[in-house]
């Protein structure tokens, strides 16, 4: 018998905070549980860690199975381990967060959910477990992160206008940003490139379309680049 059997083991779960953006509001994906505990309450998509997968792999599997979301960027948020956080017993949860564009995915109804729904971050309902706390930590991290690193392209279409991008940043940061300054900085950073196209058909001047320059972005990151809004 080795150490591993000698000590009691807690259950380990993964919880995922999925942020979305539909062009107007930043929102959050919640599942209405159809099992006890917290049956019929809203919770973060989550599940048990399997022994043959890393925490990140586990988060990906769980999101795929429960929501249909795949190919996501995931970042570890924090590990929650309060003794009473799960009424079933001692459960440690490793939380991850991600950003997606809801229009690019068709949500599935997972086997353990009767419902899967986006909620605006300004209107988050009562949640089960300690998920409210997890959400708050995730929101704080998202805000902090977006001001010095251009995450958030996951939330836009492949081609987007600078106004759309600015609205996204304003939705995340919950403040207004000066248009000229925003454009200046984002263009100087070289993480986006003009496509040469314009979006016509709307009842105003046709805006230019831009795209994320991923190779350039990765190159800059390696050099220790930091983008500032």
């Amino acid at each position: 018998m080795n150490d591993l059997q000698k000590y009691p083991r807690p259950s380990v779960t993964i919880d995922c905070v999925v942020f979305g953006y539909d062009g107007e509001e930043v929102s959050l994906l919640l599942i209405n549980r159809k099992e006890q505990p917290f049956k019929n309450e809203w919770t973060l998509p989550g599940g048990f860690l399997f022994l043959e997968e890393t925490p990140e792999e586990s988060a990906k599997r769980i999101l795929k199975d429960k929501t249909g979301l795949a190919n996501l960027f995931l970042e570890q948020l924090y590990t929650f381990g309060d003794i009473q956080r799960d009424p079933r017993g001692r459960v440690i949860s490793i939380a991850y967060y991600t950003l997606v564009n809801p229009r690019l995915f068709n949500l599935v109804l997972g086997e353990a959910a009767t419902d899967l729904k986006w909620f605006a971050i300004t209107k988050i309902p009562k949640t089960g477990f300690d998920h409210k706390e997890i959400i708050n930590v995730a929101l704080a991290r998202l805000k902090a992160k977006v001001t010095y690193q251009p995450i958030g392209f996951e939330l836009l279409e492949k081609e987007f206008t600078l106004t759309e991008m600015q609205l996204l940043y304003e939705a995340i940061l919950q403040r207004t940003i000066d248009k000229r300054n925003f454009r200046k900085r984002i263009l100087e950073s070289n993480v986006i490139k003009a496509t040469g196209k314009k979006r016509t058909g709307e009842k105003n001047r046709a805006p230019e379309l831009f795209a994320f320059d991923e190779p350039q972005y990765k190159k800059l990151l390696k050099e220790g680049y930091q983008f500032k809004v």
Copy 2:
């Protein structure tokens, strides 16, 4: 039978990165293991999480038992969960880090260690498990943190000179800092207060002694204050 029994459970451990500062170098506390695996190799102080304690409580207990350190500020670093990170089986480790002044503590020899030793961060030996990776993550976090939040008072005596404080920051950041600018910023921040005393007896001008103004610091933190070196 509920969910918790239905799923296999990994072992959960806590590992602690303890940074120290002796007035010259930033150093790191390692334990020479006297058990398999990695017997006679250097490792971070760590141990198994008990079911009746939170991860942070567990980190405190482990540090107390294995090193004698107590009353520490602890911050969760990251959770490491690679499948092969522990040869004994599947082990998830929640890592914490802390800062201490080695001269204020007498290290004990823990029951599972034949040796307990401080290593300069520029001279860290080969370590067991994935502890090298954990140390690197902790170092990066420490550097990032110290430039915008005045942590690090744990590493100084209660009363200290501004030169001592500057040397600490230089040791953490591994770069020199302009003396006048450093003093200007730290004094303007109001997180330290003059004691009115001087340290005499050395062969040069007696420097003023300062102390950390903890109530003021906590008040500023609540207001969203950020200190910049």
